[in-house]
Amino acid sequence: MAKPKLKAHVINREWCKGCGICVHFCPKSVLELDEADKVFAARRSDCICCHLCELRCPDLAIEIETEQDG
């Protein structure tokens, strides 16, 4: 199977509470919190699409969209 290609980090800013769990555990340090304490993909091209941020997010606020997702 081909390696999944990142389309977007889909972030729901209204649901994100800035807990920092995704930022802390991202194996590639892709994510950061902005001045409003909302997550954003600071180093987007480093993302390996492991989905760990999405799986751990307590607020269902981040989703990794890949090309395969259509």
């Binding site: 209204e14 649901w15 509470k17 800035g18 807990c19 920092g20 769990i21 930022v23 802390h24 555990f25 760990l52 799986l55 751990r56 997010c57 307590p58 607020d59 269902l60 606020a61």
Partner: protein, 267 residues
């Protein structure tokens, strides 16, 4: 279905504090149900009272938000009248094992086909950080300002001794394992107990100076180990994760059906 199709979006963002592990339990559960391809109509979630119990408001299944400690009693009633439905009963550690302790052991003893999820944050979150039967010796709580002298139950040992036919433990750090265990628990026919170590950064974390939610999850990573690992032999203080019990024994509703059949024959 996508996980968003299983929630009541109108109630989001949810009421849980930033970094509360209860949201991650919800996340894992939604993925499990989605992977199993279950329909919203075949699941009944029954909860009691507590931060954890608020979970039933967010899922778009059949839901019952009942009384503190009594979720298993209500769930037993639902299951006996509609045995074809899948019952999921998430509970806080106080809910499940303090006020609800008796319901818990007897549901286990009967082996009724329910999936009980004990969301163990070692504290009463909703009411402001009182110690629970899972806080453990030496911990701090609003009701134990000079440290708690009570020892904790071990949920896994308790459930096993009471007769549960599926018993497992995972954490909010180990989300892949958690989803896998939840899947097995839902598919298991009989009383399933899944203990999930879930952080309450607001009360347990702050009182016990455990740092941020992510720090508390680091502790789950560092202080737990797969069942029977070499690490456990070297360090007995590590908490084991995985499936402890999985056995096929007669399930309560099927046994009850046999009784009805016998009674109908007049014998």
């Amino acid at each position: 279905m996508a996980i968003k199709d299983y929630i009541r979006e109108r109630f989001f963002p949810h009421i849980w504090c930033p970094g509360c592990g209860h949201g991650t339990v919800l996340n894992s559960l939604l993925r499990t149900v989605s992977q199993l391809g279950m329909s919203r109509n075949e699941i009944v979630m029954v909860s009691g009272i507590g931060c954890s119990s608020r979970i039933s408001g967010y899922v778009d299944f059949h839901t019952l938000h009942t009384l503190h400690g009594r979720a298993l009693a209500f769930a037993t009633g639902v299951k006996l009248s509609r045995p074809e439905l899948n019952l999921i009963v998430p509970m806080g550690d106080g809910d499940a094992l303090a006020i609800g302790g008796n319901h818990f052991i007897h549901a286990a003893r009967r082996n009724i086909d329910l999936t009980a999820i004990v969301m163990n944050n070692r504290i009463y979150g909703m009411t402001g950080g009182q110690y629970s039967p899972l806080s453990g010796h030496g911990t701090l709580a609003t009701t134990a300002p000079y440290t708690n002298i009570d020892y904790a139950f071990d949920t896994v040992e308790l459930a096993t001794a009471a007769g549960a036919s599926f018993v497992a433990r995972s954490t909010t750090y180990h989300v892949q394992q958690l989803a896998k265990i939840l899947k097995q628990a839902i598919l298991h026919e009989g009383f399933s107990v899944v203990e999930v170590l879930t952080q309450c950064p607001t009360y347990f974390g702050r009182k016990n100076r455990l740092g941020s939610a992510a720090d508390m999850m680091e502790d789950y990573k560092n202080n737990t180990t797969p069942i029977g690992s070499k690490a456990k032999k070297e360090n007995p203080d590590l908490i084991e994760r995985g499936v402890f019990v999985q056995k096929e024994i007669p399930e309560y509703c099927s046994e009850y059906d046999k009784i009805i059949e016998r009674a109908m024959k007049g014998k």
